[in-house]
Symmetry: C2
Subunit: 275 residues, 2 copies
């Protein structure tokens, strides 16, 4: 490791601190990754660090070893920083001594290669980066093919999204696009499309997740827009027996993803399959 | 409505502000409920307000009507407060003009009446109130019988839990108890118990949620303790195909709750049912 950086006026540090704001990330086309787990997963997924700031007193011995192995494997050098500098770089109390700066990953529809049985999650106008991260983490675990944000109301690589994804955001194919482009893409790829509407007559358990499927979920505040009601789109609902008129969007995503995985792993078709 | 309260030194306001801290809630045995939806659902669920503070300029006209109907039905009087006073009472930017103070609801195991086919969610050492709230919201929607927090590491009626539950926390039977008392209670009520361990050999899809069942989930940071490995407890796992070694606890709860509901609504037994 190099000489310790002690000044928050160090130009590399100043540039990195600006990445805490969306404006800074947009100007620099860079992202900032907080945390050892997130950083090592990003590097494992092929993300190349531009900067890697480490505050050794904050790292446990085993974390230090894990980090060094990961850095050596990737041929990456870390810069050590003082506690004061680190506190400016990292998110307050959630930090564990590692912050990485990297180029913003590409997230274009054209980059996504969709398998023949790929499950696609489309999130329309999603607002909360924490929900995006949680959904990506679930999508990774449940084997979904990709996550697409339509008409995004947050930036994909917001530090909260990265953190909530536990690093899975660097592994799951991800794209942001205008909603109409997403609809065109789904059609071009012959994806059977299910839109989650709370008032739909068909429960999600009655559908068979066969071949290429997409599940479209609406935003936290206003649900799914009416543009997703079309002859080519099947409206489906998750049953809700209680007082609430909606589920948390990351919970809804999990219910869909794991029902698809259940059906696929068991080779089961539900008794009332509509396809 | 009464005269508007303009001073943050008003004794009723001062007492309510202290409820933002856990210490204040513990001292007063009271809770503070933020938001119109949460407040009306609490009142509908039988919670009696001790104080109800309203800041009319923050309420939309339809919100005002909804609130008045709800208050009239419950015979409750609201105190109007100035914007300055309200800002001290409420959680910053998430507020919509209504804050309620109520007695802390009871949450004892002995209060829970478990139906013959009740699904019980047990959360061990849960740390984040937001996760508790999200789980309660899902439990309500999926028709779970109750949520029990074992060895709680957060207070049940933390404002973040109330908010994340969208008010469902006042409707779903809820209890906090020592983990050993929870195990005794499950045994006494002849509840078939499934403990979620990431390394379990049996997938959750292979079990049949028949009769009284409990699903035990561990904390965000350390998973489930070894005390839940016992001959009377079946260890089950949610399959994870990606890089992550765990799911978000509220996602795991949703996957279990909705698989139980799916089986019960369809009358299906999975092909590899172990019971």
């Amino acid at each position: 490791m190099e000489t310790t950086i002690h000044s928050v006026r160090n130009p590399r540090v100043k540039l990195a601190i600006r990445l805490r704001d969306r404006r800074g990330r947009r100007q620099q086309h860079r992202i900032i990754v907080d945390g050892l787990r997130e950083t090592t997963r990003a590097i494992q997924a092929g993300v190349r660090p531009i900067e890697l700031f480490v505050c050794p007193p904050l790292l446990t011995e085993s974390d230090q070893t894990e980090l060094e192995n990961s850095l050596n494997a990737a041929g990456v050098h870390a810069a050590t920083v003082s506690r004061e500098v680190f506190d400016k770089l990292a998110f307050g109390d959630r930090s564990d001594g590692v912050v990485m700066v990297a180029a913003e990953p590409r997230a274009q529809l054209t980059d996504i290669s969709l398998p023949a049985d790929g499950l696609v999650l489309v999130l329309e106008s999603l607002e909360k980066p924490g929900n995006l991260g949680a959904i990506v983490r679930t999508a990774d675990a449940a084997g979904a093919a990709c996550v697409i944000v339509a008409d995004a109301a947050t930036d994909l690589f917001n530090p909260n999204a990265i953190r909530a994804s536990a690093g899975a955001i660097f592994r799951v194919p991800l794209a942001a696009a205008a909603a109409q482009d997403v609809r065109d893409w789904l059609q071009a790829h012959q994806v059977t499309t299910y839109a989650a509407h709370v008032d739909a007559a068909i429960p999600y358990t009655a559908i068979t997740f066969r071949g290429r499927c997409a599940v479209i979920l609406g935003s936290e505040s206003s649900g799914l827009s009416e543009e997703w009601r079309a002859p080519s789109v099947v409206s489906v609902a998750i049953p809700m027996l209680g007082i609430a008129d909606s589920l948390n969007v990351s919970v809804a995503a999990a219910v869909f993803c794991y029902e698809a995985l259940r059906q696929r792993q068991a080779g089961i078709s539900p008794p009332h399959g509509i396809r």
